[in-house]
């Protein structure tokens, strides 16, 4: 009995262990960021990087640090956390361990919207001069990406309202949605000018390198309020895990939270997709790995998934940059190689959350 009651006082201890996992993740993220800053085809010494960071470097090292490596690190961090938190929240509100922006087709919807803006509305072109995509209107693409994502969300919410739709069936519906969006995108490409087609094809490889500081700022502005909302709802997500009736009896409106959460999750996904292209699996696997370590408590799952998502995407991007340098492998391809085996493992394990 005495031992048992000391167990309850261990609550602070129990909370502290979760915090220390967060601190560990954060430290690793800092280390990987530093590594990412030092690694690359243009070799720079630590001293050169430091002087570039403090504004004392020569022109070329400053250019590499400030215009190439730092934006990549910032973009990977923000996109990683956005996709991971979107996945964590979707897994809860759709009551589906396999849910993520990528697996339910929202990413593809966003890509379709972006392609529509590029091809039909002339929002961007890719030229062979190596300048990358020329964006004629920086707001049009995210806007249409969001509309595309909304179509995906609408279908998924409709499906999730149907009773007895198994998690696997919902993911299959997501696959169907994804191929439908891809087909629609291809149809547009078939009739489009080649510079625009090139721009869209370029899009479908998720790539961190194309983000500029302006776009990174936009991504940050979009994701911060969404993160605040998700974190505010952490208790409600926990309640939803016990079923809708229990949630209502605890004063929560499940329908409203489901709708708001899905809209915000698709919004942050759409922002990432429209700037960086489709990046799969980050949103699916980050929450699962956090769950394995700290359990299903959304108070910790939300902040820790964001850290792990950033860490994954940044690591994947760094690997893609250095593995066959000077050629840079788009990060979407790296995450697919990383994430697909984990996804299959989760399917084999069944619905184990």
């Amino acid at each position: 009995m005495r031992m048992a009651s000391t167990k309850i006082t261990d609550y602070q201890e129990y909370i502290r262990s979760k915090h220390s996992f967060g601190i560990l993740l954060f430290l690793i993220l800092v280390i990987v960021s530093l590594a990412s800053l030092c690694l690359g085809s243009y070799s720079l010494s630590l001293g050169e990087i430091l002087s570039a960071l403090t504004g004392n470097g020569d022109a070329s090292s400053s250019l590499v640090v400030w215009n190439m490596r730092l934006p990549r690190i910032a973009a990977a961090t923000i996109a990683g956390l956005s996709l991971a938190v979107a996945g964590a929240v979707m897994q809860c509100v759709l009551r589906n361990p396999l849910a993520s922006p990528f697996t339910v087709g929202i990413s593809h919807g966003a890509a379709f919207g972006a392609a529509f803006a590029i091809i039909e509305l002339g929002a961007g072109e890719l030229h062979r001069t190596g300048e990358g995509i020329i964006i004629t209107n920086p707001y049009l693409i995210p806007l249409f990406a969001f509309f595309g994502a909304l179509i995906g969300v609408f279908v998924i919410l409709l499906l999730s309202k149907l009773r007895d739709l198994s998690p696997e069936a919902m993911i299959l519906a997501g696959v169907a949605m994804a191929s439908l969006f891809s087909a629609a995108t291809m149809l547009m490409q078939y009739f489009a000018e080649d510079v625009k087609v090139a721009a869209v094809v370029f899009w479908t490889f998720g790539d961190i390198g194309r983000a500029t500081w302006g776009e990174i700022r936009l991504m940050a502005i979009a994701v911060i309020p969404a993160l605040a909302y998700f974190f505010y709802r952490r208790w409600d997500y926990n309640a939803l895990l016990s079923g809708d009736e229990t949630a209502i009896s605890l004063g929560i409106d499940p329908q409203r939270i489901r709708l708001e959460s899905m809209l915000l999750a698709s919004f942050v996904t759409a922002i990432c997709v429209s700037f960086l292209g489709i990046i799969g699996f980050i949103g699916l696997i980050s929450p699962h790995i956090v769950r394995l370590v700290v359990g299903g408590d959304y108070r910790f799952l939300i902040p820790l998934s964001t850290l792990l998502g950033s860490l994954f995407l940044l690591s994947a991007d760094t690997v893609g940059r250095v593995i066959i340098a000077p050629i840079v492998i788009p990060v979407g391809i790296v995450t697919a190689f990383m994430g697909a085996p984990v996804f299959i493992y989760l399917l084999i394990r069944g619905n184990g959350r």
């Binding site: 167990k7 261990d10 926990n238 016990s242």
Partner: protein, 268 residues
């Protein structure tokens, strides 16, 4: 006079006044076109133990869900002076706790699950008071050894106890329980009913329980509501548990023995 003493005195006065806690008037509910509840009316006093009994599908669970606004029926449900339909879900949750028939399993720990009962009372974050409340409930229901287990690692009975604990942590004035003793062994059945009876008496919480076990109900009931085919067949103290009434409700013949002053209902 200290705050605490004054609080206790007002509490005592309120209980002796036997205030009306809940009033249900002409409550009807239909799933699609099938009427599940037909013009149900009753009232519940402070600190009263009310048992709703009736065969499967007689509308017990639906009735409970209408009382806290999970389902919206026709007719009126008042909590104290307030119409349930005018209250927000959160306002209801501060007053009414609910234990569903089946609880879904997840990876939360027992402690965190019970802490969820504090959800209606907390803003941005929990306070020490919330933690203390959870600890108190854990001690009350003897769940100390399970505190940091995940729900997936619990037996059906343990899960049931945790769900009851969560509802108690809500500090409700009214507690709705849907067949709370279903998964419990004999000891825990008696233990749960004893604790519920005690908090009803001491803290003036009204406990409304849907139940199958007539003997357990007759031991603890202040009032019994017998439901059949969506209607109230009989309502009153344990004296309404007559062979005639039970046969009407369940279509089963029983004999009622008196054992040490308590009725014992057996199939005839």
């Amino acid at each position: 006079m200290t705050q605490n003493m004054r609080w206790k005195m007002t509490q005592k006065m309120r209980i002796t006044q036997n205030q009306k806690m809940m009033l249900v008037k002409d409550l009807s509910f239909s799933y699609n076109s099938k009427e599940v509840l037909k013009k149900i009316s009753f009232e519940v006093k402070e600190g009263e133990m009310v048992f709703i009994i009736g065969p499967n599908g007689s509308g017990k669970s639906t009735l409970l869900k209408c009382l806290n606004g999970i389902l919206k029926g026709k007719g009126a449900v008042y909590i104290g002076e307030m119409d349930v339909r005018r209250l927000s879900k959160r306002e209801i949750a501060k007053i009414v706790g609910y234990v569903p028939q089946r609880c879904e399993v997840n990876h939360l720990t027992v402690f965190d699950t019970i802490l969820l009962g504090r959800r209606p009372h907390i803003g941005w974050n929990i306070e020490q008071r919330d933690i203390e409340m959870v600890k108190k409930v854990i001690r009350l229901l003897n769940l100390e050894n399970l505190s940091f287990r995940r729900l997936t690692q619990l037996s059906g009975g343990e899960l049931q106890m945790v769900t009851i604990a969560r509802a108690l942590a809500q500090e409700p004035k009214i507690l709705l329980l849907d067949e709370p003793t279903n998964n419990l062994d004999l000891k825990n059945q008696i233990e749960v009913m004893r604790i519920l009876g005690e908090i009803a008496r001491k803290e003036g919480i009204s406990v409304i329980t849907a139940m199958h076990d007539l003997n357990l109900a007759s031991l603890y009931a202040d009032r019994i509501i017998m439901l059949k085919d969506s209607r109230i067949i009989a309502m009153g103290g344990t004296e309404i548990l007559t062979t005639e009434n039970i046969e009407r409700v369940y279509d089963v013949r029983v004999s009622i023995l008196q054992h040490e002053g308590k009725p014992l209902i057996l199939p005839a």
